[in-house]
């Protein structure tokens, strides 16, 4: 299939690339751009593993087509940390053991970031609801919920 030229804004940088129009954002990020931090769990939109942010909203990259996303701000886990400084969510996930195998972690971090942007002090139930579309098989979610709470507390200047 012939390739289409695309300009994608990923993690604040514009990238010009050529990809077949039916390639998903997940495939283009991983295979064309080398951004392998975005993982795949099902490629059917069922597990949340491949979540990225588009204009700050969580999007399943396995169901998104890059040709529809030109001019939109795409954020992957590689774009979550500032220069030399982890995002409070990343810091909290590392400190509290919220990442075991770490495979679902990028998608959960980005989903949680979108939650905290909307709702800086969510209740535990609100965190559960926000993350209900992200499967994790290792942690039992407990440390993930703890870490989102800690990050929210720290971001609000509470700790």
């Amino acid at each position: 299939m012939p390739k289409t030229l695309l300009r994608l804004s990923v993690n604040g940088e514009d990238h010009d690339l050529a990809a077949a129009p039916h390639k998903t954002l997940l495939e283009v990020l991983r295979e064309e751009m080398g951004l392998t931090g975005t993982k795949h769990g099902c490629e059917l939109g069922e597990c949340g593993t491949c979540t990225v942010l588009v204009d700050g909203r969580p999007v399943l990259s396995c169901l998104a087509l890059p040709i529809e996303l030109e001019g939109r701000a795409i954020t992957t886990v590689e774009g979550l940390a500032g220069a030399g400084r982890l995002h409070p969510l990343q810091q909290a996930f590392a400190e509290l053991g919220a990442a075991q195998c770490g495979y679902c972690t990028p998608g959960i971090l980005l989903t949680a970031r979108a939650l905290l942007a909307d709702n800086p002090r969510p209740t535990r139930q609100e965190i559960r609801e926000a993350l209900a579309g992200n499967l994790c098989r290792c942690t039992g979610y407990t440390k993930i919920l703890d870490a989102v709470e800690l990050a929210a507390l720290r971001s609000a200047g509470g700790a």
């Binding site: 769990g41 059917l44 770490g102 495979y103 993350l131 499967l135 942690t139 440390k143």
Partner: protein, 811 residues
């Protein structure tokens, strides 16, 4: 404890982040599918659409002609040897040549320029099948002996049949105040790691092969690839990549690994094969469906006099770990409670379904579910509190069981007391409003299998600790981190012994060229076995460092300590050197500082056939209380709280231990309430993450974890396992809580809403308020092997372990 008192630990016991936490939260960790190499081709397997069929003809001509295809393989391109993870079950082919035995059996493989072309090419391969009758259940497989899935085993479609009797069970029943029989069924389920299996192979022009794979057992893959590919193992290098979850699902040698290797050879390119999620559901090797019958004789106080346990395992199409799984369904019943006389009969039956194997708890969650529900029913009949009854009948520490397992420390009494207190058990059991219930169950699990998969006298785990002149330390170990934190545990232990910070250590794991053998990340063995090897290596290195510093300072080595990145006199900061200076001093005397440590478990296997399955250096113990609510309209179960206390020996890092316990509880809830691997006409009914139900954040309750420490003499700094045992009691605790809530027994896992509604309807109709198996297969077990019960005999003390001697060996 080796001059380092409990109070003087600096690293052990601290809730430190994992050493790879930063890589995990930034997406930097490279899983197998994140790797790519120049000129890499993508591989795909063609899989059988039939559960049972002869292969009449395979024509790959059209696939080979497709532009972009680099190579096509069938089984005829591979050496005609069958393989299997266990030496006794060599029954698999990477690409089937004559017969397929399940939907999903691979018959051909393609390498192409991209994944789509490879997939299109597989569709152009013409396979002519002669369809055979498919045997989709234990009953069907036993009923039709003329349809043979394999030509080997202990009978037509019987992979393995075992029968063992320890002590006189019938006379125990004759003396009992109550003899009770129950029947249970545990449906199969699967591991479902979030990462799909992936392999990348590079067969170099020098004829040497490198395989990167998401495997939990790089050593076994290395060992088996030689004969499978007819290549000297010396020319094969297997590198395990960090596993995106395993839970036992990445423990066998798999068709895609073998096909990637061979495709790389024939195409002269690196070849990567990543399974789809649907393929993972068929590759499977997960929890066996097990039908169980148990009869126990007890006194009025609930003291067990004798137990007879029978299991029938639906093994699926191949052997895999199934012989071990079969023994495991009978091995650990005796480790939790006092069972003076014990009889076990088990049979694993071949069916035309994906083969089952080890999943978290390997062969023991099913009988644990049965046993703990059975004990609850006994307590009910005797009018005893189920928590108190269990508390009274616990196994004795430092004794042997009827089936010759040596038990060391047991923290189960404290575990029960703690969950009973924390949950408010005494104010709740039998007293909650209708629809609400509370249940308890206990368990025990191995801390590492006492025997290797192949018999040998070599270490089960090896570690090399190498000190650099910079003061940095490299730890080389064959174990792969599957998310549980094994790399971090190695770093903590070495840092503790050498008096440095875990950050000063880099762990290099699971590369068969560079790291000493570790048998694999299974049976909860890594912390104990690699940990003990790491401590031995680090202590030997410390000995060299202390000796060199002692010579420099003109003091006795015994007077020195290694702490805070310094080595010297503990009370005199002026008479010490930095760790890096100590390395320079020692390297100047001894040359390169690369020190090995080795571990093999004490040889304690019972002297009977089958005695190799069950022994472990020590056993973890767990008690669990679950409180839940049953919706009597919908049959839905909502779990509100789980209290779980786990005897981990010592929590080397309490944060990581809690994580293992919480993950186990979660997985137990999924198995108890929703997860099932079921088939219709050979096809998986739910081969996707949407259809195969697993708990989300919304179904996972608050988990209250309590860690109990018993400082086991076998463990590294006293540690026992944490990754599997805590799953075991969760499932029966839920079943027992459902009974407390609505007065019905669901003797079948998973406890789905339809079963609850059916049981409630039966109760309303005045029938027995139970849903579960109604009949047992017609099957004659072999005559039992009679073995004297070792119940109550004292343990061999701390048994001598191989490789303990030498300088710096543990005292």
């Amino acid at each position: 404890m080796r001059g380092v008192g409990k109070e003087r630990f600096t690293v052990v016991g601290q809730p430190l982040p994992k050493i790879d936490a930063w890589a995990k939260v930034t997406g930097e960790t490279r899983f197998a599918d994140d790797l790519s190499l120049p000129r890499m081709a993508y591989g795909k397997l063609l899989r059988s659409p039939h559960p049972h069929a002869l292969i009449r003809r395979i024509d790959t001509g059209r696939a080979r002609a497709l532009p972009g295809v680099y190579g096509v393989l069938t089984g005829l391109d591979l050496p005609r040897v069958k393989f299997g993870i266990l030496p006794v079950s060599q029954d698999e082919e990477a690409l089937c040549t004559e017969k397929v035995r399940m939907v999903g059996d691979a018959v051909a493989a393609v390498a192409a320029v991209d994944e789509e072309t490879a997939e299109r090419a597989t569709e152009l391969i013409d396979v002519e099948y002669e369809v055979l009758p498919a045997l989709m259940s234990i009953e069907a497989a036993l009923r039709r002996p003329e349809v043979r899935i394999h030509e080997y085993g202990d009978g037509p479609n019987v992979h393995k049949a075992v029968s063992l009797e320890f002590g006189d069970v019938e006379s125990a029943f004759a003396r009992a105040d109550l003899v009770r029989e129950d029947v249970f069924y545990f449906e199969g389920n699967t591991h479902l790691p979030m990462e799909q299996h992936c392999a990348l192979a590079l067969w170099g022009p020098d004829g040497k092969l490198t395989l990167w794979s998401s495997t939990q057992t790089p050593h076994y893959v290395h060992r088996l690839l030689g004969p499978i590919l007819d290549v000297p193992p010396a020319h094969i290098r297997v590198i395990a990549t960090p596993n995106g979850g395993g839970f036992g699902g990445k423990l066998d040698p798999f068709a895609h690994e073998i096909a990637a290797c061979k495709l790389s050879q024939v195409t002269g390119r690196p070849v990567k094969i990543t399974l789809t999620r649907e393929e993972v559901f068929y590759v499977h090797r997960g929890r066996h469906p097990v039908l169980m019958w148990v009869r126990t004789g007890v006194t009025r106080q609930g003291e067990i006099l004798g137990m007879h346990f029978r299991t029938w395992l639906d093994g699926g199409a191949y052997g895999s770990y199934g012989v071990a799984s079969t023994f495991y369904t009978g091995a650990l019943q005796t480790v939790t409670y006092r069972v003076p006389a014990y009889k076990f009969e088990g049979a694993r039956i071949f069916t035309n379904k994906p083969p089952c194997g080890p999943k978290r708890g390997h062969g023991t969650p099913q009988p644990r579910f049965a046993l703990e529900c059975h004990l609850d029913k006994i307590a009910g009949e005797l009018g005893l509190d189920p928590a108190d009854m269990r508390r009274r009948i616990l196994a004795e520490p430092f004794t042997k069981t009827a089936n010759h397992l040596t038990v060391t420390t047991i923290g189960l009494g404290e575990c029960i007391d703690r969950v009973v207190l924390a949950s408010g058990w005494r104010d709740k059991v039998g007293q909650l409003p209708p629809g609400r219930g509370i249940g308890i169950a206990c368990s025990s699990y191995l801390t590492g299998a006492g025997s290797a998969i192949y018999w040998n006298d070599m270490p089960h785990s090896g570690v090399v600790v190498r000190a650099d002149r910079s003061g940095g330390v490299a730890v080389l170990c064959g174990a792969i981190d599957v998310g549980q934190g094994s790399d971090s545990i190695l770093a903590y232990l070495v840092a503790e012994v050498l008096g440095i910070d875990p950050k000063d250590i880099r762990v290099h794991a699971a590369d068969t060229d560079l790291t000493p053998v570790d048998l694999g990340s299974y049976s909860s063995r890594v912390t104990l076995m690699c940990g003990n090897a790491a401590i031995q290596a680090a202590e030997r290195l410390r000995g060299l460092l202390l000796g060199a510093v002692a010579a420099k300072l003109g003091v006795a080595a015994e007077a020195l300590a290694a702490r805070g990145r310094r080595i010297g006199l503990p009370d005199d900061p002026d008479r010490s050197v930095s760790f890096a200076e100590a390395v320079v001093l020692a390297e100047s005397i001894h040359g390169v500082l690369a020190v090995p440590g080795s571990y093999a478990p004490p040889k304690r296997a019972g002297k009977y056939k089958g005695g190799g399955v069950g022994p472990s250096p020590c056993y973890s113990y767990t008690a669990c209380v679950v409180e839940l609510e049953v919706d009597r309209e919908t049959g839905g179960v909502r779990i509100d709280d789980v209290w779980i206390a786990h005897d981990v020996g010592r929590a080397l890092n309490p944060l990581l231990v809690e994580g293992q316990v919480e993950g186990s509880v979660y997985m137990g809830i999924g198995e108890a309430l929703m997860e099932e691997q079921v088939f219709r006409k050979g096809l998986h009914k739910a081969p996707s993450l949407l259809e195969y139900k697993s708990p989300t954040t919304l179904e996972t309750p608050e988990i209250h974890t309590i860690l109990v420490e018993t400082d086991d003499p076998e463990g590294p700094f006293g540690a026992k396992e944490a990754g599997q045992g805590p799953l075991l009691p969760v499932i029966p605790a839920i079943a027992n809580a459902v009974h407390d809530a609505i007065g019905v027994r669901i003797d079948e896992i998973p406890i789905t809403p339809d079963k609850i509604l059916k049981a409630l309807a039966r109760k309303r109709e005045g029938k027995p308020a139970r849903v579960g198996p109604e009949r047992l297969p017609r099957f004659t077990f072999p005559a039992p092997r009679i073995v004297e019960s070792a119940f109550g005999q004292p343990a061999d003390g701390v048994a001598a372990r191989p490789f303990q001697g030498g300088e710096g060996g543990r005292p």
